[in-house]
Symmetry: C2
């Protein structure tokens, strides 16, 4: 006779009973005063009069299902999956759907294997999508290309149950066989999309592939069109993209749409997680914005569970896994403070404390970043083959760059950086095969007056990128990046002013969240000392290499402008 | 390059374009004036300015997704899957989720195979659940028992993608290993339930097995509790169970609940389908009852698609299969008249016409009903071992019976039927193994004054059941049933007054819908001539054998009362 059923009937003691809970019910939109009985990691029953081997008095506090983040890139927090999970758990997160395309660019399949391995046994379940766009374009040089055969392997090996964001929307729309092959290799699984500004017939073509969600809507009109076409909407609210308030009217006007919408993070920083929170912060934002808290709750629990076909979670219901969160208050309000977090029926977090043995266990990827071929200062000089050049124009607050035509400073027949006029030299050095190949260009708008800033976080191929006011500082930065096996650095001449090692694929640190946030702030402050005025300078720097966003970009292959079809020349 | 994408972009002509459509959109709750472009059986795009190899002007009429019936027993229509599909298609149905437990009781696995085979290539997609309760109880004798191993076979053979209604709710609640084994053998699929009146901790125990839907709610309180516990609600509206109006307040009060509710048929007759319709009739009832038509539409399209994880249908959206219905009017209103029905991008029905080559193709099951051991009149005599007996009490309008204690008519030392006092003898003859085993009892309330009525439709084991006013009429009926290989019959003495052969498992006819309805009506009218007053006499008769419903029932093993734990005696 089955013992879960016996615990549900109340005929045997449950493993755990949460007494005196106010269970938030998204269906009745009421708080049900009840006990929650848990047996063998699953909810046995909700009701009155259960008795457990362990009994916990919730004191009338509200209890909600463990929350689910439908889209996040863990690597961009610069934390390991473990460190991320511990801070996310503190904020009521029980499940995240992660797209590992950063580590997959940096370390290929072994990067995905590392993430998968480092994500077992954590207080948060992390499910990975198959990274569908490695490389982001032919103009980038990742560790290895993950083609449609690689997609098939990931699904065959059960490493993934959904397709990661298909960013190459032009290829899908054009019917490109490689892009469609990746989608079809994924099979009958959730196919997540990324289609900024795609509407009308292009949207039809994109969706005809089976892609059925998107997290790139920034206007109500675009979001309404995608929703009406049958797309699930992931509404993004992270460190830099703040779309919730803009798009919530879709749900406010018709709460039934909450069944097709979710709130997601996409990109988020360690500092944001520490200072503001994770899914709890999204709940606060939605509630403050006037959304019915029960409707908001659906968007971070059942709706993502349904979209990702995780039929074992998303509600507090008999037979589901016992992932739930006890709030500090009796109802869900703007404070939305968390009392304790429970995973598979075990308390995993409370106040500032996460209960786990392997919090900072050192799980390392199979591959380490080893770069020997760092060019000399002489090699990166640019002979003046003209007196007008193209330069990357950076503007605060947008990831879009401009193509600027400028008259550069020329010294001894060489085009050089010009700190006084905010023109920095930018070098991207291939780091995956140690070919020594590099691209050189110029960038205006970073505010570098002296020295150099460098990073191995450089979307999407994550080669080394350094921008600086003089060649010596640039070479010092490249050498420091090589020495650290990846990371962030700020240099001036031969001196390293600050640095933050990211030994895991050049993207992530083994440090705990507080130290990650502190090291990033310290390195950013050193950049400010060089004159850098732009916010999040390392993030801005990293996006200068992403070849699939307009206009001018730089990779190890040189200038690229996707809007002009590919590689661009330095001299006009 | 992919051609579906090209058709979506409008760069190549679509196979078909429905021009000038008013596409009913459940997300915006508006009608969108647009073209619908179809390529290779799928929706390529919705929008303006598409051109097709074939162009069809919808004339501004409303277009809705093909409708989905989430729960039906096709056998109970007495039609083949083909005949059922043709009449259902006329009424805008594109997909049905059928529970084949009747044919599985009558013919075992080969019955399921027959249904599966007879359901290919029809204008309606029919998906079968794995029949989870064959037999309904140990007190019934089906063709063969389908145990947990049989469940596994059905899933391994891809004959089914969901578990059919788990009617043996007491076994699930008690944690019975056989019942749980069947559920676990099904795996991670929708597990459909049947739990009338089950609430509180018993509901917790039932749901702890993973069963996540129910179609048996008849009161608002019960439905609200099940919904709040996380069950998907199938709201039943068939020939005899009319639950829509009672339960719709759940959706009216909170339209978000439409994402967890669907309208289903369960049991329905050929006549109902012909005279009233199918899913279109449910839409009429919901709209007449004041439900927002777009919310109602979700309950017969996207919600059942989501519950059954049919991710390729339920909405008119790019990439989905092109199942849609053009209505006669520009909006969804109480008339809800259908103009034409399209399946996989082909018109399959219009007005009274279904376009299909194999409309009444004769697909036969591997096994035919062959009964040779029909008892003689002498054998079914009942020696009077007392002067008080238990009799089955039938009441109009409920499937629940009573246990009556009556003083029977005794002639020559034998208890006999008594037409004047509405006491009929009832005989159930085992027909699957031709053992000759039969059970005898008495039933009050059918109104049989003379002759006998007999049927091979006898839930759930579907043995032969005959009730009559004299033994000769009963034997004539049993012989006629044996001769026909199953069916319905009405006899008087040695004369057969009417009969309707059901050669497919003794449950279904090869005739088209109109003739099925006419033959059933003709046979029922002959029963009325015998004095029968109760409505749907053959349906009432068939349920007298269903051992899992209170109170007194009869099978080939004799009287059974599940509320008293099993077999019961004739004499008090």
């Amino acid at each position: 006779m089955n013992r879960l059923a016996a615990a549900a009937r109340g005929d045997i003691p449950a493993d755990l009973v949460i007494h005196n809970a106010s269970v938030a019910n998204i269906f009745t939109q009421e708080y049900e005063s009840a006990d929650i009985a848990i047996y063998s990691g699953r909810i046995a029953g909700i009701g009155q009069g259960y008795d457990g081997l362990v009994n916990f008095d919730a004191g009338g506090r509200a209890v909600i299902p463990g929350m689910i983040d439908g889209h996040i890139h863990i690597e961009d927090t610069m934390m390991t999956p473990q460190a991320f999970a511990y801070i996310a758990a503190l904020h009521g997160t029980s499940t995240v759907m992660a797209d590992p395309h950063e580590i997959s660019n940096a370390l290929g399949m072994s990067g995905l294997e590392y993430m998968f391995r480092a994500s077992q046994g954590l207080p948060v379940d992390i499910f990975y999508g198959a990274p569908s766009c490695v490389p982001a374009s032919d103009f980038e040089t990742p560790y290895e290309e993950l083609d449609m055969t690689a997609m098939k392997s990931m699904f065959d090996r059960k490493m993934t149950q959904h397709l990661g964001e298909m960013m190459n929307f032009p290829a899908v729309i054009s019917g490109d066989s490689e892009a469609w092959g990746k989608i079809l290799a994924a099979g009958n699984v959730p196919l997540t999309g990324h289609a900024p500004g795609v509407t009308g017939k292009a949207l039809n073509a994109y969706m005809s592939s089976g892609i059925d969600s998107d997290h790139e809507c920034t206007t109500l009109d675009e979001a309404r069109e995608k929703l009406s076409r049958g797309m699930w909407l992931m509404i993004r609210e992270g460190a830099t993209f703040l779309d919730l308030k803009t798009l919530l009217p879709l749900v406010k006007d018709n709460p039934l749409n909450a069944s097709r919408c979710m709130a997601v993070s996409d990109d988020i920083t360690a500092r944001y997680l520490l200072e503001r929170g994770h899914m709890d912060e999204k709940m606060r934002i939605m509630i403050r914005d006037g959304l019915n808290p029960f409707v908001a709750l659906r968007m971070v629990t059942l709706s993502p569970a349904e979209y990702f076909r995780l039929h074992d979670r998303g509600i507090i219901a008999p037979g589901k896994i016992a992932d739930f969160v006890i709030l500090n208050d009796e109802t869900m309000d703007e404070a939305f403070k968390i009392h304790s977090v429970w995973k598979n029926g075990r308390q995993v977090a409370r106040d500032d404390d996460v209960f786990s043995a392997n919090e900072y266990e050192h799980i390392a990827p199979a591959i380490h970043v080893k770069v020997k071929k760092v060019p000399t200062a002489e090699k990166i000089r640019v002979k003046a083959d003209g007196n007008t050049i193209n330069a990357i124009g950076v503007t605060e607050g947008t990831v879009i760059t401009k193509t600027l035509t400028i008259t550069p400073k020329i010294v001894d027949g060489f085009v050089t950086a010009d700190g006084e006029n905010d023109v920095a030299k930018i070098v991207v050095l291939e780091r995956h095969r140690d070919t020594g190949r590099f691209g050189v260009g110029f960038v205006k708008g970073l505010g570098i007056k002296k020295g150099a800033v460098g990073s191995s976080v450089a979307h999407d191929a994550h080669n080394f990128v350094v921008a600086g006011a003089d060649d010596e500082s640039i070479i010092t930065a490249l050498r420091k990046l090589a020495e650290m096996g990846g990371g962030l650095t700020v240099t001036d001449g031969q001196e390293v002013k600050a640095s933050f090692a990211l030994p895991i694929g050049g993207l992530m640190s083994y440090l705990p969240p507080e130290e990650v946030a502190a090291k990033l702030a310290e390195t950013e402050n050193a950049a400010v000392d060089l004159g850098v005025k732009i916010h999040h300078p390392f993030m801005v720097l990293s996006f200068l290499c992403l070849s699939v966003i307009p206009e001018l970009r730089i990779t190890d292959q040189g200038y690229v402008d996707i809007t002009k079809g590919g590689k661009q020349k330095l001299f006009v």
